[in-house]
């Protein structure tokens, strides 16, 4: 771990500052320009994210920057390891695609300023800035602020249309998120009180298995689980994600829930790599398994397309948390943890693309039909072939059919589960895949059926928007061609990289 700022460290500052500048500029110039500012920021942000990833890959080490030149424990550091770099690029790609998709839904009209587009474009930039701050933060209190900024940007996205039901969904989301963040903050105080620093690298060498550390770990994990909507703290997610406008749902389901997951990973693998024992990881595994089975079964029983996709998110979040029983405590010798680690991270990325594509496809279906009842979908496959094809490709990734990112992710988790002799997780992964197949085919079977009477479309859907959805789904598919072994990029900056089978 370098002790001074690395070359290219300023890129990390730019990655956070750029969306904030865009956001301020959009607010200052007003509704007419908000969309143009957001669209202009996107390619620059994407280039920055790729530059950070290239820098991490090229130097085979973390990029680091000390804000104001103050070195921790007094100062605050920004750090990008392999995992951060991958999440930065995923976020930049998805935000740009969602931006292109949303242009038709939130247009800024030449002579009037309407509120919804202004709010959407500024909040999209705010979510982006907050996500980058979460992925790059190296100080636990800084991460708390980033997490809160993310909540404040994400909650209003749920109730953009201002209907009573979305307002109550947003309020419930906010209450869960506030409980989560205050528990996280409580854990942060305990850590500061016990060890006198909040810098992740410094903490990792000071933390020992004493009551304060255990209490902090449990409180912070519980708080982050509420924000990540892991069963049984998922109650807020389906109404919020299903009620939001389609581009907002894609941001919330694809990206926003990944931020608290990212922080649980930071906590368990970076802050306290030696602390979590087998039993604690198994508890998270049981919650994850319940989420997979419960979320999938409830998804099977939904009548509305967007709710089905939202419950599927509850299930797919479960797969993310299988990383803990399979890879936590790597230093106590889990020979397969490298596979589980890569599989879990790939699941986060491929789910982001697949779920964003599915929510955007559902949004187009809703616009074309004026409803999203699954029973009334017959014939939509013929009317919107590109959209339904993209939906199917996203579904393939959720099921884990080859070739798709979901397949590689689930195959690696499966290998790790079998390799470590924890076969019960393998069983859950397989049953979850079957159930996902069930709910995706339920939609596709209706969509490809012959309509009894002619299907009336209430709106024309432009080819460009369908192409964006297809492109996002194709990224989820292309992720299926990454090699089936622990990834070198993802292990850069990991303290336990050699244990995980990577030098």
């Amino acid at each position: 771990m370098p002790s001074s700022a690395t070359p290219g460290g300023f890129l990390l500052v730019l990655a956070i500052v750029l969306p904030v500048m865009g956001l301020l500029l959009a607010l200052f110039l007003g509704g007419r320009y908000a969309e143009r500012v957001a669209i202009a920021v996107m390619p620059i942000g994407l280039a920055l994210a790729i530059a950070v990833a290239a820098g991490v890959w090229h130097s085979r080490n973390v990029l680091q920057y000390f804000v104001g030149g103050w070195v921790p424990p007094l100062g605050v550091a920004l750090r990008a390891d392999g995992f951060s770099a991958v999440m930065l690029v995923t976020t930049a790609l998805l935000v740009s695609a969602i931006g292109l998709f949303a242009r038709a839904q939130f247009p800024t009209l030449p002579n009037s300023e309407t509120r919804a587009p202004l709010v959407f474009w500024t909040l999209l930039l705010a979510v982006w800035a907050a996500l980058n701050a979460v992925f790059l933060g190296a100080d636990l209190f800084n991460l708390y602020v980033a997490l809160e900024l993310l909540t404040f940007a994400a909650v209003p996205l749920v109730c953009l249309d201002g209907r009573a039901e979305t307002l109550s969904a947003a309020l419930r989301y906010l209450l869960f998120a506030l409980l989560g963040s205050v528990l996280y903050l409580l854990g942060t105080v305990l850590l500061y009180g016990a060890y006198g620093t909040l810098d992740i690298v410094l903490l990792s060498s000071r933390v020992h298995g004493e009551p304060a550390a255990w209490a902090a770990l449990s409180l912070m994990t519980a708080g982050l689980l509420a924000k990540a909507a892991l069963y049984p703290l998922h109650l807020w997610l389906p109404p919020a994600h299903a009620g939001a406008p389609a581009p907002a749902s894609a941001v919330l389901s694809g990206l926003v829930v990944k931020a608290p997951f990212f922080l649980v990973i930071r906590l368990w693998f970076d802050v306290m790599p030696r602390l979590p024992d087998h039993a604690a990881a198994q508890v998270l595994g049981i919650l994850a398994a319940t989420a997979i089975l419960f979320g999938s079964v409830i998804a099977l029983r939904q009548d509305r397309l967007k709710l089905l996709i939202a419950y599927s998110t509850v299930a797919q979040i479960g797969y993310l948390f299988l990383i803990f029983p399979l890879a936590a405590g790597a230093q106590t010798g889990h020979p397969w943890s490298g596979s589980a680690w890569t599989g879990g991270v790939l699941q986060a990325i491929s789910h982001a693309f697949a779920k964003a594509a599915m929510f955007m496809a559902a949004g187009l279906v809703y616009e074309a039909l004026g409803h999203d009842r699954i029973a009334g979908l017959a014939g939509i496959g013929r009317a919107l072939p590109i959209t339904m094809f993209a939906f199917g490709l996203g579904g393939m990734s959720l099921m884990g059919l080859p070739p798709s990112g979901g397949f590689v992710a689930k195959a690696m988790l499966l290998t790790a589960a079998v390799g470590e002799g924890q076969w019960w997780w393998a069983l859950v992964i397989l049953v979850g895949g079957l159930l996902a197949g069930g709910y995706v085919f339920r939609v596709l079977a209706r969509a490809l059926a012959d309509p009894n009477d002619t299907l009336t479309l209430v709106a024309d859907i432009s080819r460009t928007r369908q192409a964006v959805v297809l492109a996002v789904a194709l990224v989820a598919l292309v992720l299926g061609f990454v090699p089936l072994r622990p990834s070198g990029l993802l292990l850069i900056g990991r303290p336990d990289a050699t244990v995980m089978g990577f030098k």
């Binding site: 404040f152 109730c159 039901e165 109550s168 409580l186 109404p239």
Partner: protein, 102 residues
């Protein structure tokens, strides 16, 4: 009992009360107040932690105080956002309750 221990115990009571109110009460306004109670407890704990700097011959550790100020600002904005959402909900439906789960 030292002052720091007393503060710590008070903060534990506040966190407990707030958590109870946040989880048990169905009305959103009480949940928001519960959140603020927990917040108050956490900030008090920051104060207790800052006193520990006094043991090293300083008047107190300034870092937790800087963190508390930021924390209060964040909690204040969170409360403002929650109350605004609740007010909008009240204007639309005439009730300040969350609909039960579907």
């Amino acid at each position: 009992m030292s002052a720091a221990t007393l503060y710590g115990l008070c903060s534990a009571v506040l966190v407990g009360l707030g958590l109870f109110s946040l989880i048990v009460h169905p009305q959103p306004l009480r949940k928001i107040l519960g959140f603020n109670l927990i917040g108050g407890g956490v900030f008090l704990l920051f104060g207790a932690v800052a006193r520990r700097g006094a043991a090293a011959g300083f008047g107190g550790d300034p870092v937790p105080q800087a963190l508390v100020i930021t924390g209060i600002v964040v909690a204040f904005s969170a409360t403002a956002l929650a109350v605004t959402l609740l007010l909008r909900l009240f204007q639309q439906t005439g009730q300040a309750t969350l609909a039960s789960d579907e």
